[in-house]
Structure formats: C-alpha cells, structure tokens
C-alpha cells in the first residue's frame, strides 16, 4: 500500500468530501420537504391526493436512483429541462430519497396511538390543532431514528452522482485512479471519508433521538 501517495493526495479528497457533505445537506433538505408533502398527500382526506402520494412513492422507490438521475440529467434537455450536474444530482437524489422519507413520516404519524387523537378531538380541538399539538410532536419523536436510516442511505447514495460527473468523493477517487493507477488506495481514502461523514451524522441523529425522548 502506497501510504506516501495517500498522504499526498488526501487533502484533495477533503475538498471533494465537502462537496459530498454539501450535496447531502441539500439533498436532505429537499428529501425532507418532499417527504413531508408526500406524507401529507398519502394521509389526505382527498382520494386524488392519496393517489398522487402513492404514485410518487411507487415510482421513485420502484426504479433505480441511477436511472432517475440519468433521465433527469441526460434526458432532461430533450424535454426542456437544463440542469448542471450538481443541480441534477441534488434534485434527482432529493426527490428519490423523499419517496422513502414519505413512507417513514407516514409510518410515524399513523403509529401515534389513536387514543391520542380521540382525546384531543374530544376536548374540542380541530383536526389541524390535533395534528399540530398532539400527533405531530409525538410522530416527530418516532421518526427521528428511521429518518436517520434514510439519511444514511442518502449520504451513500450521493456516490451515484459521480456517474453524471459531479466532482464529489467517488468521482474524485476515480479521477485520481486515472492518473495514479492505485484504485485500492484511492477508494480507501474515499471510503474512510464516507465513514467519517456517516458516523458523525449517526451520532447527531442518536443525540437528537435521546433529547427528544419523552421523560
């Protein structure tokens, strides 16, 4: 193993890791937004919205994220969608992970005990007040950990955007392999950096979960 080379090139990987982090954060925000909308649609009183939500989930969970990215980035221009690689990466991955988050959020919301809603409604709270004051605060606590799992998948999923040439960790590793012919070392650096990002995120999620725990 060429440790000397690894020490020489790893600063360039750190830069790329920042891109991966940036990509993850933006994708996460978009994913959570899509998830919230999706869950709201899935739980809507209106059949049409429920259908839209279900369609969103089955389309985006039912096809490979890579294909979704390719359609958006390479196929987009054909139907008038011009995005640079980074934008396409964020939107493609965000909408994709949003489908998983939809199910996570919906699951958390429906697993709040029905008696909670009944008690709130019995006191005279409206549906919206009941959701905001009783169901949602409890569902939020229930969804922290499973959303953490989604976020973990999302971070690893950002490696896919190397395929549309976003200069993030995986792409950077591939580029350095092209000039050094040392795939083991280059992928090892990338792998370690992914692990650090994911470990840090995992700790943050665990901390949030502990803090939100009901006494």
């Amino acid at each position: 193993m060429d440790t000397e080379l690894m020490l020489k090139v790893y600063p360039f990987f750190l830069k790329a890791a920042l891109v991966t982090v940036e990509l993850s954060i933006l994708t996460g925000i978009l994913g959570l937004s899509c998830g919230a909308l999706g869950a709201a649609a899935r739980l809507s009183r209106f059949r049409f919205l429920r259908f839209l939500g279900a369609a969103y989930v089955s389309v985006f969970r039912g096809t490979p994220a890579l294909i979704q990215l390719f359609i958006l980035y390479f196929g987009g221009p054909q139907i008038g969608i011009q995005l640079d690689a980074f934008q396409a990466g964020v939107i493609g991955l965000g909408v994709n992970i949003g489908a998983y988050m939809t199910e996570t959020m919906r699951g958390a919301i429906i697993s709040v005990d029905k008696g909670q809603r009944e008690a709130a409604r019995t006191l005279g709270l409206s549906q919206f007040q009941t959701f905001r004051k009783v169901t949602l605060p409890q569902a939020m606590r229930l969804m922290i950990r499973p959303l953490g799992v989604n976020i973990n998948a999302l971070i690893k999923g950002t490696a896919l955007v190397a395929a549309i040439s976003v200069v993030e960790l995986t792409y950077t590793a591939q580029r350095y392999i092209g000039s050094t012919y040392k795939p083991f070392e280059m992928f090892l650096i990338a792998g370690v950096l992914y692990m650090i990002i994911i470990y840090g995120t995992g700790r943050a999620v665990a901390w949030l979960d502990r803090r939100a725990r009901i006494v």
Partner: protein, 256 residues
C-alpha cells in the same frame, strides 16, 4: 326550548359496521344533573353508544341532542367540523386508557385545550390547572410527565383535563377498567365528588357496586338494545328481564 325538554336525548340511534348492527334503534334521555350508568356484557354496544354522544363514533342513523342543540347535525364537512368542535367543548370524556398526552406535563395536559380554544392567558391557565388538579388531588404532580404517574393518578389528571373545559356533561368510558384493583378507589372517589356537585354524567362501567352507589339510573344493554332501565335498586335487586338477571348473576360469579 321548553323547560321539560330533556338535557340529553338520543333518538332512534342505529349504528352499523358493515352488516353488523351494534346499536339497534336506541332512544334514551338524561336530565340535567342526572348520573346514569350503562352496564352490559362486552360487545353489547354500550361504549359505542357513549362514543356516539360526542360523535366520536358517528351514528348510522338517529339523532343526539344536548341542551336543545343537535349534536350530529347534517352539515357540509367544514361547517360540521366547526359545529362538532364547538359541541365537544361541552362534553368531557374520560377513556379507559387515559390517553394523556405523553409529551406534555400534567399542567399542559390540563391547559392545552382551554388555551387553544378559549384563548385564556398563561396566568389564567396556571390558575385553572391548579384549581382543577387540586380538585382531583393531583396538585403536587403538576409538573410531572404522565409516564411518571400511576394509572389512578393518570386517570385523575385525565378527569381534570376534561373538567378544565367546564363541560356540561361528562362521559366515562370504563374509566377504571384498566386500573389495578387498589387504584380503582381513588378514581371512584373523584367521580363521586363530581356526582355530589351535580355534574351530569353517563358512565359505562363494569363496577356494579359503584353504579349502585352513585347512579340515579342504570341502563342495561345487550345485543345493541336497551334491555332494561331504572333506578339501581330496581335493576340490580329486582330485574324484570331474564337477560339482566343472567348478566348480573354471571357478573357476581365472576367477582367471587
């Protein structure tokens, strides 16, 4: 509105779940200040009837009236929501499993609804919480979370939470059924206190002794109909119907 109009009236209530008819044409009236127990075997429809009164389980057909106002009015969705939320403010309900809000303190459990619905200030809310919790003997636990309370304490807080809306009527759905035997009494005492204060109450219960000692009237339900009703001394000591007798005998044997 006439003076003789009943305070609560259920008219020809029917409730079906698909093919199964759980309430078959039930009518009953309750006067202001009256305390009514509904007893009967499980599956007799007594909880369904209770939950129809505040429209938690909407009736398939029939009417529910409270103080001259139809509770289960036919209205477009939005208007109906507004109407029923208004009506429910007057109808307190206590559940078998307490259903306290676990993410809120005892204080906030009691004050959440009055704050949201009556727009009272934080100061008034605090006073209200203290007053209601003192009433059920739970003032010392005002800053606890529900998970830190025993079942009996939870139920007393749940009663305080319902009373904080100053309801005209209280519904109790097997309020002591989920409690350990030694915790039943503290909840019964609170309910007795309410009875002495002339709160109108409809109580679904399995506790015949409690029903006999507190209630003005007992309704025995079986198979979705009211089989027999009357003052407790009559229904319990001298039931006219075989089904009532059988139920009471089985119940007595079960208690032994």
């Amino acid at each position: 509105m006439t003076a003789s109009q009943p305070f609560i009236e259920v008219r020809q209530a029917r409730k079906c779940y698909g093919e199964i008819e759980v309430l078959k044409d039930i009518s009953l009236t309750v006067d202001r200040g009256q305390i009514v127990a509904i007893i009967g075997p499980s599956g007799s429809g007594k909880s369904t009837l209770l939950r129809a009164i505040n429209d938690l389980d909407p009736l398939t057909a029939g009417e529910v009236w409270l103080d001259g106002v139809r509770v289960n009015k036919t209205l477009p969705h939005r208007q109906y929501e507004k109407h029923i939320n208004q009506m429910r403010q007057h109808i307190g309900m206590v559940f078998q499993h307490f259903n306290l809000f676990p993410h809120l303190t005892v204080r906030d459990n009691v004050t959440m609804a009055p704050k949201l619905l009556k727009g009272i200030s934080d100061k008034e809310a605090d006073r209200l919480a203290e007053e209601q919790l003192a009433h059920v003997g739970m003032l010392e636990r005002i800053d606890y979370f529900p998970s830190q309370l025993s079942g009996g304490q939870k139920q007393r807080v749940a009663i305080a939470r319902a009373l904080a809306m100053k309801p005209k009527l209280m519904l109790f759905d097997e309020a002591t059924s989920a409690l350990d035997p030694e915790l039943v009494e503290e909840v019964n005492l609170v309910m007795k206190k309410l009875a002495e204060e002339h709160m109108t109450m409809i109580i679904v219960t399995h506790e015949m002794d409690f029903a006999a000692s507190v209630c003005d009237r007992v309704i025995f339900m079986d198979g979705g109909v009211v089989v027999e009703e009357g003052p407790p001394e009559l229904v319990f000591r001298n039931p006219t119907q075989d089904r009532t007798r059988n139920f009471l005998r089985k119940h007595l044997e079960g208690a032994k």
